[in-house]
């Protein structure tokens, strides 16, 4: 019995059935089989006899394995699986055992290729005619379909189990899309929740609508909160005012004292904060809050996940809705820089102390200009006790506080270094330093060596201080305690000092042509940061400096990481919904201000209901005719809904059954809406909704089950095939009306063009690109943040977007397939262009950017999504890149390595000094790996000059990078440019065929089989004679016979 080696019982069953049937029906290939038999007799059996039968033959069967009796006929025999096992152990160099006599290279090669050919013959024989299987909607299709049907933008599918991938890598494959009981429970629960949301009763519910206006002194005499906690940077409540708005958008005026009190109670739950933001990057002015371009956060754990710096957020504690659409309105303008002479406090990551400890006295060695203060000279102490020359907390979990005065001789930046006893990380040592109302928190980590010392120095941060006398404080919860604190002027060439001393006009001139942008997010406050997600597209802020405009953003609360509803939790820092924004003109360097953004007010409205009752409701409960009975109306509503949900007219008896159901339960529910809702929930659990059901055209099935000419699908099915192919969702009204008229087939070309012009094509492209090009690998990749500090989460996000936008551009412009391999443009925004080292691409939106010759960019193969997704996080990974290229781009997936494949052998002398390319050569020199890798590695070596994050890197480990290699067909190439040239010339058809084949598999929701080869080649011919344009591929697939069967 032929079975594949898998772990799942279900899988075994499926493949057994498929192969069992196929053995009878598969296309014979007698020539190949004859050759296999001859080779066995003449070559293979003698080899086996020499090296194997001794232990695995008639006399002895070590491990229960007997090779001499294995049937060499892979097709009619039943031993293919055992041969496959033999192949694995030979390739894995497990057999023959190292002590025994070894096969020569030629012998091993002969044995390996004979087994591979045999397996190939078996596979060929096992492939029956393609039989498309009814497809269940996968997660994204289900979500899109339900969103379109109900006009609700909720990510409905999130709670469903994930979908399996097919052989070609797609999740829309009918064969592997199972429907488990968990799915059924999920469908029911989702349908109920979705219809609860879609169907409304009564008057428009009152929305939460707050507006916070920011400006110096605006809040004096008004109530507003300030939220504290670790790393908090609250805006003083004197500088903002909270307006509670009515439905008309005007501030509500209280009609009584009680109402006024209630409104103030609400205001005490709302604050504005910039938690985690650096204080030299924002400022409250009379006109509003100025935010410099945001600096992305570093990906280092344990971290303080506070978002980019600076970012500002409305902090609402337990006074927000939990579901519905959300509108966020920001009044903003282009801003101006401020004059610098103002006290600020900054963290100084990765800085060494500027002073030293005397090893004998453990005191700070004084140096010129440094201001040193002893702990014991401080005044106003709280929760601190003397311990020798130090102050330490009495109760370490409670906030401590010590104040001291300093005289500042010169205005400027001073580094703050603290001498204190070492504290292990598990005691969460913390330091809070304060000047006036400014505070800065640090959680220092001490090395093992430091923990052995009796005193250590920690750099807390830096302060910009004005000349004269001032006070500073030290302490906070989990305070380390201290013996001395030193303030040392920072060297004059430090970027902070440089930025400070550059003239404001100079800085303003640098950003005069640039626009700030708004990027908004929502989230939950956590103890050491926030869990947040951005929503809506960023918007550039235009107009003159100081010219305010309103920018509106829409989101959906259920899709955002808002706080869980709490039952009774009253913790002081829990239950915060954050609604925030930053200046999305991201900057890579803290000394760059970027174009300043001025924010006058932030407003939130949720749930946002521009019309009432909403369309989600009126599209289900259509206007009722005069004197229409409950039954008639319910029948009409249910029938209409079923037609739309099933994507074809529901047969009368089907609708009738749902109406009967409604009749049987209507008495249990107080309103018509509620009882009808039960019937609609059932509609959404019907397989007619959940599956792409394609009833055969009546009368066309040949008698006797002859399937040589499969019946054609009806036009309703065709409409669904088209829309789930090109929109990843249900057909729209136009497609359905063409199907209704029976004219869809005759309008096919026009419809395909219309659908490709429609923005909904992105739903197709995003999923197709993700699965074809394995963008999930980028998502899962962890890049070493110390080696690649510029690779931020925003670079990662934009790399993905680059690839999606690139494919979208190809479709939009109907460009030739060859552009996939090389193009004279790249789709970039400022953030990604800067990462790649390309200038002159301002702003957050993606657009085609012409590439100068020699830029090293252009085409899919030089995009970060692929290159970074196929590294190991530290170095490029030529094998991953090569396998991807062969599998995804050339359509020739290499066989997987045998089990227990030996990894690169680090015992080779000097191994760690080798580049990965050289390490691979060592690997290839082991005979068990050589043959296979000779066909793989060269493709990966060509990418060697692209680093683990996809940057061009001509040198590595201090040596020039060698990207020269010889491809399996003997072509010598050096680097990516020559690989591209090769792909565009010699391998042109392979590339085109791979694109066609992947799209074909996706369009049909099934894997490609041998019997499709003719169709695929026909499409290729047609595409080629039409300038190899990308849309021709799609048109070709839609016209292929398989698309209609």
């Amino acid at each position: 019995m032929l079975t594949s080696v898998t772990s799942g019982a279900a899988v075994l069953v499926i493949s057994t059935i498929a192969i069992g049937r196929a053995v009878m029906e598969g296309p014979p290939s007698p020539v190949l089989e004859d050759t296999l038999q001859t080779t066995y007799r003449e070559t293979i059996r003698p080899i086996l006899s020499t090296y194997c039968f001794g232990c695995h033959g008639p006399g002895e069967q070590k491990g229960g394995v007997q090779l001499d009796e294995l049937d060499p006929d892979f097709v009619k025999g039943y031993d293919a699986e055992d041969w496959h096992y033999a192949l694995d152990v030979v390739q894995g160099a497990e057999m023959p055992p190292s002590k025994a006599k070894q096969l020569s290279d030629d012998e091993r090669r002969a044995l390996v290729s004979w087994i591979e050919d045999g397996l190939e013959a078996a596979r060929r024989a096992s492939t029956g005619p393609p039989s498309p299987v009814m497809r269940r909607l996968n997660r994204s299709q289900y979500t899109n379909t339900l969103q379109d049907l109900l006009h609700l933008g909720v990510n409905f599918g999130d709670r469903l189990p994930g979908d399996a991938r097919s052989k070609s890598g797609f999740t829309n494959n009918g064969e592997v899309l199972l429907a488990s009981p968990l799915h059924i429970e999920g469908y029911q629960a989702i349908a109920r929740a979705a219809l609860d949301e879609a169907i409304v009763t009564g008057e428009r519910p009152e929305s939460v609508r707050y507006r916070v206006r920011i400006g110096t002194g605006l809040g004096r005499g008004h109530v507003g909160a300030e939220t504290g906690g670790y790393q908090s940077v609250p805006v003083d409540s004197d500088h903002f005012v909270i307006e509670i708005l009515g439905a008309d958008g005007r501030p509500r005026t209280p009609k009584s004292d009680a109402e006024e009190k209630a409104m103030d109670a609400l205001r005490r739950k709302i604050s504005i904060g910039l938690r985690g933001s650096a204080q030299d990057r924002f400022r409250v002015t009379e006109d509003g809050l100025v935010l410099y371009g945001a600096v992305p956060h570093k990906e280092v754990a344990p971290g303080a996940w506070q978002g980019p710096s600076p970012n500002v957020k409305l902090e609402m504690q337990r006074v927000f809705p939990e579901a519905g659409d959300l509108a966020m309105r920001v009044r903003a303008a282009r801003g101006q820089m401020w004059d610098s002479a103002k006290v600020v406090l900054l963290d100084m990551p990765d800085r060494a102390p500027m002073v030293e400890l005397d090893p004998d006295t453990l005191e700070i060695v004084e140096r010129p200009g440094t201001i040193v203060t002893r702990a014991l000279t401080t005044d106003q102490r709280k929760n601190l006790v003397n311990e020798g020359d130090s102050l330490v907390p009495i109760d370490v979990t409670k906030p401590s506080h010590a104040r001291f005065g300093i005289k500042v001789p010169e205005e400027g930046f001073y580094q703050i270094d603290l001498a204190h006893r070492p504290v292990a990380a598990d005691a969460m040592p913390s330091i809070r330093v304060g000047i006036g109302k400014l505070t800065l928190d640090l959680r220092p980590t001490m090395s093992e060596a430091q923990l052995q010392e009796s005193r250590v120095l920690t750099t807390v941060g830096a302060a910009y201080l004005l000349k004269g006398s001032t006070h500073m404080t030290l302490g906070g919860a989990f305070f380390t305690g201290f013996s001395q604190v030193a303030l040392t002027p920072i060297e004059s060439d430090h970027p902070l000092v440089v930025a400070q001393s550059s003239k404001r006009e100079e800085l303003e001139a640098r950003v005069a042509e640039l626009l700030p942008a708004l990027r908004v997010y929502a989230g939950t406050r956590t103890d050491d940061g926030m869990d947040y997600r951005t929503f809506a597209e960023p918007q550039e802020v235009v107009g003159d400096v100081g010219e305010f405009r309103e920018y509106t953003f829409h989101g959906r609360l259920e899709n955002l990481p808002i706080p869980e509803p709490e039952s009774g939790d009253a913790e002081i820092l829990s239950g915060f919904l954050l609604l925030g924004l930053w200046n999305d003109h991201l900057v890579k360097d803290r000394k760059e201000p970027g174009p300043p953004l001025l924010v006058e007010s932030i407003e939130v409205e949720a749930p946002y209901h521009p019309i009432w009752p909403p369309r989600s409701h009126t599209d289900i409960f259509v206007p009722r005719a005069d004197a229409e009975s409950d039954s008639d109306y319910a029948r009409r509503v249910i029938g209409r809904f079923a037609d739309r949900a099933f994507r074809r007219p529901a047969e009368p008896e089907v609708t009738e059954r749902y109406v009967e159901f409604w009749e049987s339960i209507r008495a249990d529910y107080p309103t018509l809406e509620e009882s009808v809702k039960e019937a609609l929930i059932a509609v959404l659990c019907s397989p007619r909704f959940l599956f792409l059901t394609e009833p055969d055209l009546a009368g066309e099935e040949a008698p006797g089950g002859d399937v040589t000419e499969a019946p054609r699908i009806d036009e309703w099915s065709l409409a669904s095939r088209l829309s789930y192919f090109l929109w990843n969702s249900a057909p729209d009204e136009r497609l359905l009306s063409l199907a209704r008229a029976g004219e869809l087939r005759t309008h096919l070309d026009a419809e395909v063009q219309r659908m490709l012009e429609d923005p909904r094509r992105r739903r197709f492209l995003d999923v197709f690109a993700e699965e074809w090009l394995r963008l999930d690998r980028l998502e899962q990749m962890t890049i070493d943040p110390h080696r690649y500090p510029a690779f931020t989460r925003f670079v990662k996000r934009d790399m993905r977007e680059e690839t999606l936008a690139f494919l979208d551009r190809l479709i939009e412009e109907d460009l030739p397939i060859a552009r996939l391999i090389d193009s004279d443009f790249a789709m970039l925004n400022q953030n990604l262009a800067e990462f790649y080292g390309i200038d002159g691409v301002p702003g957050p939106h993606f657009r085609p950017v012409a590439l100068p010759p020699g830029s090293g960019r252009g085409g899919l193969l030089s995009q970060g999504a692929f290159l970074a997704g196929h590294s190991d996080g530290v170095q490029p990974h030529p094998i991953k890149r090569a396998v991807w290229l062969k599998d995804r781009i050339l359509g020739d997936p290499p066989p997987p390595p045998p089990p227990n494949v030996p990894s690169l052998d680090p015992t080779t002398p000097g191994f760690e000094k080798l580049t990965l390319k050289e390490q691979l050569e060592v690997h290839r020199n082991s005979p068990s790996c050589r043959d296979c890798h000779a066909g793989i590695d060269p493709y990966g070596v060509a990418f060697e000059r692209y680093s683990a994050v996809g940057l061009y890197e001509p040198e590595r480990k201090g040596r020039p990078v060698d990207a020269s290699t010889t491809l399996p067909d003997g072509t010598a190439i050096d680097g990516l440019a020559e690989l591209k040239a090769y792909l565009l010339d010699v391998a042109r058809d392979d590339v085109a065929l791979s694109v066609i084949e992947h799209l074909y598999a996706y369009a049909l929701g099934r894997d490609v089989s041998f019997t499709d080869e003719d169709d695929l080649h026909a499409i290729l011919q047609n595409v080629r004679s039409n300038g190899s344009r990308i849309r021709k591929v799609i048109v070709g697939i839609v016209h292929s016979p398989a698309f209609h069967r």
Binding site: G8, V133, P181, P302, M428, P561
Partner: protein, 458 residues
């Protein structure tokens, strides 16, 4: 055409699609549950003696003085010695009499939580989820995985209990349990409300009525969909009927589950005595009574087979909630638990050790009760595997979780050892082993790499 290697690929593809296979044991279990209906008891489809899991958590780590410290011998949480020859310190003395039903595991932690501050790691004790970065990705907790399968035997899938109630907030939760998408499940904490909801005739009826209504709604819809599916199946070509059968099988499974749930509602509660219950303990004055009252309710729930899966968070991390004051109330110390855990004044290890000991006394009381109270299969403890522990060792170090397993002799658990593991063994292996002990034989849980060797028979 050169693309011809798919025969090879099938192995890998299907392995990757392991999500598919996950549903199969469930289906399988559903079917297996039916023939066993002739169980010893008049309960629906009980395949034999129950297998239960209880998870009990304490916050803020445990006392672990340095080995050079004089307090080490007496006040460290972990025993001294190793293997069979371990000796309990003062801290866990209250569990000494159950030595033969007890195992200690040292050195374990969740891989993805090791870099976190200990308090935040508490969000992942039963999940192994990833909450390191600014997208909080928690995942389903092990008790809920168990409950998904064991719920078919009982009235309720699980009890989720705590001292503070609710879910708390991300990074400082007040529940141990998380649903299929990683959302926290609200915990219950008021003893009287719990009793009335689950055990009292009046409250029981009320909640039964609600449940009956929701089950009936679900059942009617499933019936209708089943009927429509059969009709559709007749219209489909042969090629699709296999797929349709697959869908119908799943629908049937769901319908069976609904029927079982309904049947439960018609079976009267086993008689029990509630005289010993204290339903109104005051946590502000009687900390011991407060914890024991909840433990008594857990014993009652297991005894009546109300559920087979329980989580209980005895107090919250980071000085939050009622629980932080227990050391003041119960031991007359002048500090809260969180402060004790950070303390470094003279004698602080002893304070911490004494408080750990106090927790162990309350948990020991629970184990005593389980060993005493019997159902028709014998002492409850023999059929109940309890996990007792925390998510950090010393103060905020999210490694080397204090971990004890108690009970479950009749579930094949082999006790009596203290073993230490290095960091190549993820804590998830303990959770997976517990699932297997409960008969939920998943291939993996979270980032598990296998079972804890030697803990289960066979």
């Amino acid at each position: 055409m050169t693309r011809t290697k798919s025969w090879h690929l099938s192995r890998r593809t299907f392995l990757r699609g392991a999500g598919v296979a996950v549903t199969m044991p469930y289906l399988h279990a559903m079917e297996n549950a039916l023939p066993a209906a002739a169980a010893r008891r008049a309960t629906p489809e009980n395949p034999g003696a129950p297998r239960r899991l209880v998870h009990v958590y304490f916050p803020n780590g445990c006392s672990l003085p340095d080995e050079k410290d004089a307090a080490n011998a007496k006040w460290r949480w972990f025993p001294s010695g190793q293997g069979r020859d371990f000796q309990l310190t003062e801290v866990l003395k209250p569990l000494e009499k159950h030595r033969s039903q007890l195992s200690f595991l040292g050195g374990l932690s969740h891989v993805k939580s090791r870099e976190l501050l200990g308090h935040l790691a508490g969000d992942t004790w039963l999940t192994g989820g990833d909450v390191r970065f600014d997208q909080y990705k928690n995942t389903m907790s092990v008790d809920q995985v168990a409950a998904q399968e064991l719920k078919k035997y009982t009235r309720y899938p699980s009890l989720v209990l705590s001292t503070d109630g609710g879910v708390g907030y991300k990074s400082r939760v007040s529940t141990l349990s998380f649903g299929p998408t990683g959302k926290p499940i609200a915990s219950e904490h008021r003893q009287r409300a719990i009793f009335e909801r689950y055990f009292s005739a009046r409250g029981g009826e009320q909640s039964s009525a609600e449940r009956r209504k929701s089950l009936a709604q679900g059942k009617k819809i499933v019936d209708l969909v089943l009927e429509d599916s059969h009709r559709l199946k007749r219209q489909l070509g042969k090629r699709d009927t296999e797929k349709m059968d697959e869908y119908l099988t799943s629908l049937n499974a769901v319908e069976e589950q609904v029927k079982r749930n309904e049947a439960w509602l018609d079976i009267p509660m086993k008689p029990f005595s509630a005289e010993h219950l204290n339903l109104d303990p005051n946590p502000r004055t009687a900390a011991k009574d407060y914890l024991r009252a909840t433990f008594d309710l857990i014993v009652l729930a297991l005894q009546t087979d109300l559920t087979r899966v329980v989580t209980y968070m005895m107090a919250r991390e980071d000085g939050m909630g009622f629980g932080d004051n227990f050391p003041k109330i119960a031991l007359g110390l002048n500090k809260g638990h969180h402060t004790i855990s950070h303390d470094n004044v003279e004698g602080h290890w002893e304070e911490w050790g004494r408080y750990d000991q106090w927790f162990a006394q309350q948990f020991g009381y629970f184990i005593d009760r389980l060993a005493t109270v019997e159902d028709e299969h014998g002492p409850l403890l023999d059929h109940t595997l309890c996990l007792y522990g925390a998510c950090c060792s010393t103060t905020h170090n999210a490694r080397n979780y204090p971990t004890a397993l108690v009970g479950g002799r009749a579930m094949g658990v082999q006790h009596g050892r203290y073993e230490r593991y290095d960091e190549s063994t993820p804590f998830s292996n303990v959770l997976l082993t517990m699932l297997h002990a409960a008969g939920v034989k998943k291939e993996s849980f979270s980032d598990s790499t296998g079972l804890i060797p030697g803990l289960l028979k066979g």
